[in-house]
């Protein structure tokens, strides 16, 4: 499986552990910092930050905690921010169902994962039942 932005030149990776609900706020702040550094527009910044918020909360609530790695990446057409969320939780048995609008295994609105996918340019979900889940997203400048 190809990871978006992996073959491009990358800056230093910054990591935010996601263990408490305060860490979700910190992950969001890191995403915003990277988005500003990368030069994303205000709308793109807000979209990335919101996606980061959703995915970080999923990592915490459904994955039982994990980490977010973020970095600024570049390609010939421009720059972007790549965020990688990893947990070692129960994994997702049915990814099609998990990505369906309005479906949630918890008490949320069921729009977090599917909404986050619509908010970013590249979205890769890797999951293994009993092993954990990794979500990589990239938002490019336009």
């Amino acid at each position: 499986m190809t990871v978006p932005g992996r073959d491009t030149t990358a800056d230093t990776v910054r990591t935010q552990p996601i263990v408490t609900s305060d860490d979700v706020v910190r992950a969001r702040q890191l995403a915003r910092t990277l988005a500003v550094e990368c030069g994303l527009s205000l709308v793109e910044q807000t979209k990335l930050v919101t996606a980061a918020s959703e995915l970080a909360r999923n990592t915490l609530v459904y994955g039982g905690g994990g980490r977010m790695d973020g970095e600024v990446v570049s390609r010939t057409a421009g720059r972007g921010v790549r965020l990688n969320f990893t947990d070692h939780g129960p994994g997702i048995p049915d990814t099609d169902l998990a990505l369906r609008d309005g479906w949630s295994s918890g008490t949320g609105m069921g729009l977090g994962l599917s909404g986050a996918r619509r908010l970013v340019d590249d979205f890769v979900l890797r999951t293994e039942v009993g092993e954990g889940t990794a979500v990589t997203v990239v938002k490019w400048t336009h």
Partner: protein, 272 residues
Amino acid sequence: MTGRREELAAGWIEVVSRTLATRVSRAELDRELHELYSAIVEALGSGGLDTGAEAWTEVRALLVELSRNRARQGFSPAETAVSVFALKAGLERQLDQGSPGDVAAYLTLSRLTDALGMFTVDSYTTTREQIISSQAEELLELSTPVVKLWDGVIGVPLVGTLDSARTQVVMEKLLQALVDTGSAKAIIDITGVPAVDTEVAQHLLKTVVAARLMGAECIVSGIRPQIAQTIVALGIEFGDIVTKATLADALRHALRGLSDADSVRGRGASQA
């Protein structure tokens, strides 16, 4: 330790007061450490070296008090722990003239001091955490004001991150303010909320529904262009909830609603 009591205690106090310099009065230190010293000697006399044991209750209580005071006064953990660890320095000086028995006793005491020192740092941290969490609570209260915008219209300007705890406070204050002021309209302004994700949206919707159950209408204002686009991309639907771009628009909408209601009531009264 009992025999050279004054000497040892004085050495101890000297080391501690040198580190803490002018921040604690000499008399206070004197009292604190003498009390602690007596308690330690007593505990050593009556029970073993297990600092968790019954005999050490008094010492632990004194240490908790000491670290609590230090934490409140803004001392660092090192400045707090030095009060305990400095006991070693006082004893060390006596080692020069000591017998092998003294050295063995010193080593035992040293282990004991370490255990007590750790305990001090632990209770220091606990106190600091308590202080931080109570400050966070105060901040939560302060950061969610409910203001009266007009007769019958209240406003809640939200600034910063909206999490579950904060929303709970907002909802409670908003609903209480609706009753207290007899208002029929409430405006929730999210201009200061940097990002609206599904959790924030869900909290907002719940607050609006709760207000509606009480017969009040809620208007959500301060939806900036980037927030509007994000909400659409996320797929969140606000349904029939009135949303406005600015607080001014929301206030105009609320006042129009109020005057309509007034004129209906007025007609009803004249016909009767």
